[in-house]
């Protein structure tokens, strides 16, 4: 039997390494799944949780503002145990929630976005060299961040569609067969506009959205252009890579968000969301040579010529390095490839 902790009116229990179960004296229960292990969760955080939950239960309503969206969460007077969540502004939808779902979303709406920034920063910077450390660091810096995937699950059960407007970007976020999709109705002239033209030409009208991004979009902490670094970006780039490098079909393997290329240099991994390139797990530092007037173009058979957004252009440029490393002329990239080639990866550690 796991340990129990009494905090105010609540009994707090562990429900797995990342999940807390809070039960109030009157039987109200909320399950709080976190992004990472909660072993570093502070007692102060628990007290904040129960104070916020008690206040919401007593008042029966709360409001919050995230980005350009105002949220109103209210207990329905005529329907016991049912809450109503309304989002207006940048994001627009109305849903009904059970009490436990309403409490989880309320806490997420009140969560500071500092944890998200820290988490992103660490995801980007932490080298793969000591993967175990990454989890520990995330635990220290993001102990209180509630899981967006769990929030997404609530929306999957309750939401049909939401309308989003961020500047020139207009989109409809849909839930179909427990998956999120986005339909871009307007995208402006920037990066998203370029991406939309390409996706439209490829007949990808309905683009997939990850659970995590969908939850952040619906709670006002992400913007429509963030789809460029999500599943939608991966899907469009995969199609273009297959078309452009069809002669290398046998060398290319797609694994989730990565393109994996194996050749005499070792294993190359390209992150199709960000354009990050690794050879034998060694991160190659690559940047555009000139502050050029364009990022790139692609001419696809039967479809026409399209300007590329910067992420897609970067992915194509680094895929070219991985597939044809002998054609690399830049001295610094050549030097990095030489270093990475010498590296041998055993498990999670490098032997240099």
């Amino acid at each position: 039997m796991g340990a129990e902790l009494r905090v105010g009116n609540w009994t707090v229990m562990l429900d797995g390494p990342k999940t807390l179960r809070l039960v109030r004296h009157d039987g109200i229960e909320v399950i709080l799944p976190h992004k990472v292990s909660i072993r570093n969760l502070r007692i102060g955080q628990l007290m904040d949780y129960v104070a916020e939950l008690d206040e919401l239960i007593e008042k029966g309503s709360m409001t919050a503002k995230k980005g350009t969206t105002k949220f109103k969460l209210k207990r329905k007077a005529k329907k016991p145990g049912i809450w109503f969540l309304m989002a207006r502004g940048g994001v627009n939808y109305d849903i009904e929630l059970a009490t436990s779902e309403a409490l989880l979303i309320a806490l997420k709406l009140q969560e500071s976005s500092i944890e998200d920034i820290t988490l992103k920063e660490f995801e980007w910077r932490t080298p793969v060299m000591f993967r175990g450390i990454r989890e520990a660091l995330l635990g220290v810096f993001s102990a209180s961040a509630l899981s967006e995937v769990a929030i997404a699950q609530v929306f999957k059960d309750r939401l049909d569609r939401a309308y989003i407007r961020h500047g020139a970007a207009r989109a409809e976020l849909l839930v179909e067969d427990k998956h999120f999709y986005i339909v871009l109705e307007g995208a402006g002239k920037g990066e998203l506009g370029l991406f939309k033209k390409l996706a439209d030409a490829l007949r990808l009208d309905k683009l997939p959205v990850s659970d995590s991004l969908a939850a952040r979009l619906l709670l006002g902490s992400a913007r429509v252009p963030d789809i460029l670094e999500d599943k939608a970006g991966v899907l469009v780039r995969k199609r273009i890579l297959k078309e452009l490098f069809k002669e290398h079909k046998g060398e290319m393997k797609f694994e989730g968000k990565h393109l994996v290329v194996g050749n005499k240099y070792g294993t190359w991994r390209i992150n199709l969301k960000t354009g990050e390139l690794r050879l034998n797990e060694y991160l190659l530092c690559i940047m555009p040579a000139y502050p050029f007037k364009f990022r790139g173009y692609i001419r696809l058979p039967g479809l026409g010529t399209f300007k590329l957004d910067s992420r897609t252009a970067r992915v194509l440029a680094v895929a070219h390095i991985a597939l044809r490393p002998d054609e690399v002329k830049d001295k610094s990239i050549k030097e990095q490839i030489r270093t990475a080639r010498k590296r041998l990866v055993i498990g999670d550690f490098f032997i240099i």
């Binding site: 439209d200 030409a201 007949r203 078309e243 452009l244 490098f245 069809k246 002669e247 290398h248 190659l284 530092c285 690559i286 940047m287 555009p288 040579a289 000139y290 050029f292 364009f294 990022r295 790139g296 173009y297 692609i298 001419r299 696809l300 058979p301 039967g302 479809l303 026409g304 010529t305 590329l308 252009a313 970067r314 194509l316 440029a317 680094v318 070219h320 390095i321 597939l323 044809r324 054609e327 830049d330 001295k331 610094s332 990239i333 050549k334 030097e335 990095q336």
Partner: protein, 74 residues
């Protein structure tokens, strides 16, 4: 995919992509100087087209062409 589904799908958005000399295409796009000076990577079906071959290569209807900004190590 069933025949009915195929019939119901909208027709592919095909644009006319004619056969053209690569240099002619680059001139049309205003990128010939950049390509000749090496400030542009020209990939035809995934292979780099050398500067001296830009005038000879023909881009066919079924070819895929990418014009990319060169990258350097940081």
């Amino acid at each position: 995919m069933s025949k009915l589904t195929t019939l119901l799908l909208p027709p592919p958005r095909r644009a006319e992509v004619r056969e053209i000399r690569l240099m002619e295409l680059l001139k049309e796009m205003g990128l010939a100087t950049d390509a000749l000076s090496g400030r542009l990577v020209v990939l035809l079906n995934g292979r780099t087209v050398a500067k001296k071959k830009l005038g000879k290569v023909v881009v066919g209807e079924k070819d895929t062409l990418a014009l990319l900004r060169p990258v350097v190590g940081g």
